[in-house]
Symmetry: C2
Subunit: 199 residues, 2 copies
Amino acid sequence: MMETEFLLASNNAHKHQEFVRLFPGIRVLMPRDMGIEFDFDETGDTFLENAFGKAMALFQTAKRPVIGDDSGLCVRALGGEPGIFSSRYGSGAGGVPLEAPRRNAYLLDRMEGIQDRAAYFVCCLVLVLEESRFISVQETVHGRIAEGPRGEHGFGYDPLFIVPGHEKTIAELPDQVKDQISHRGLAARRILASIRGEG
Amino acid sequence: MMETEFLLASNNAHKHQEFVRLFPGIRVLMPRDMGIEFDFDETGDTFLENAFGKAMALFQTAKRPVIGDDSGLCVRALGGEPGIFSSRYGSGAGGVPLEAPRRNAYLLDRMEGIQDRAAYFVCCLVLVLEESRFISVQETVHGRIAEGPRGEHGFGYDPLFIVPGHEKTIAELPDQVKDQISHRGLAARRILASIRGEG
């Protein structure tokens, strides 16, 4: 059985747009489309725990297939920061998350004078099909942190992340190219293959 | 990139046989084939935590793709027991696990006089590809507990689990039929589709 509709465990419209592109043939709904108010505290220690927690929390309410995502940027010279705290980086514990441009500026400040720019993007997706049935994929893409933000596409840390081979930031790449090489694109294709290949 | 070799995070020869069948085209090795002594304490609260823990523990040693499995039988009338304790059921905390026939007899004793025989088999597989890349699938198959053990195929709780539609225990079905319908067969096919469909 091929699923034809997922509920996305996120209120982020940018993320939703990306999921609509990444899952052709599948209707990706947001919680508000179902009249559900969705809120989730990311208290996990790993991307998997957070992605699983989001997906399962929404599944318990909606009782239909839900996809959860937890993603982040890990910078080697910062010991893996911001990592699972990517969306809250620079806002202090319990603070209101910064807008992406200010968060990116905060990260660049922390990287000032640091030669080692190596970093990787992680995306963990969890598709909950039923109470005790799920598919999860975590993908990682290696690259490096730019000296300053570049490009207008994408969202989040995309303007800071240079992809080897392209020598551009993800935000400088058109969506179709981004989707081919991004952490979320790779993970999404594995999920798609997995649901299509059920036989 | 299609993986062509996995290390199985288990010392169970029956399980290994099943994985060899379920992953055609992939060489499935056991820890001892690599000269690795593998031991893992199943301390997780979920099948996923245990499967992930096993796979990651072996990956840290072997530094090559590892597949971990945690599976179990959940009986509705027993509040989901034995569940994640399936392999240790009836042996007491810290005790030596019982052989399957004695464990099955213990379960049947606990079910004596209970009309509700509903149960389900769960299998969680985790394939760790690299440090921060993995695929995980959990599948569930519903059925019911037989009045007594039947059949000579399979292993573990297979002689007790009646599959609806077939009206036979899993141990009464030939391997090829079992693999089509079993919790582990379903999960394995999704993993296979996912690694083949990477594009």
